[in-house]
Amino acid sequence: QQPVQSPQAVILREGEDAVINCSSSKALYSVHWYRQKHGEAPVFLMILLKGGEQKGHEKISASFNEKKQQSSLYLTASQLSYSGTYFCGTEMGNTGGFKTIFGAGTRLFVKA
């Protein structure tokens, strides 16, 4: 079942922060986050495994609450290069055949 992402779209000014949420109705093994720029392939950002961890990648970090089956991606002090569509991908592990189901995406536009 496809995870639900919110918001669908967000417009930021350079330097502003944003949060993108991803929720699932199924128990999750892991959550992946990817960014896709127009006309390009999705690029892996980070993976969060079952265990409720939080990860960081420069000014982009994420959390995973396995009890709530939710993950959030935090973009701080946004840069123009952050523009693109962000997808979360959820995995149910071995019971799900180790396949990733992607959300509908959140379109992020950062303007100067």
Partner: protein, 114 residues
């Protein structure tokens, strides 16, 4: 990470014909996946292709329409058979080294069926 190439990068095909898309990786990988993405939409998994076993297809996708080969750990092909305009889309392959691990995507093949 990995360097992944796909051929062709784009093609325009006639209804009723077939197209085979190639995916080449610069290192051996355990898992390869094929996705379809309509412009502005999410990624839809077509099938998982693991070397030495039959591909596993997702609901709505069948082997007769989308046959997949995985002859070794660095290469896979997806054929779109008996094409119709509804098959127009971007087809992407991706790879992962472990089940549930991060995926790296190829640049995609943009297919237009007329």
């Amino acid at each position: 990470s990995a360097v992944i190439s796909q051929k062709p990068s784009r093609d325009i095909c006639q209804r009723g014909t077939s197209l085979t898309i190639q995916c080449q990786v610069d290192s051996q990988v355990t898992m390869m996946f094929w996705y379809r993405q309509q412009p502005g939409q999410s990624l839809t998994l077509i099938a998982t292709a693991n070397q030495g076993s039959e591909a596993t297809y997702e609901s709505g996708f069948v082997i007769d329409k989308f046959p997949i080969s995985r002859p070794n750990l660095t290469f896979s092909t997806l054929t779109v058979s008996n094409m119709s305009p509804e098959d127009s889309s971007i087809y992407l392959c991706s790879v992962a080294w472990t089940g549930g691990g991060e995926q790296y995507f190829g640049p995609g093949t943009r297919l237009t069926v007329t």
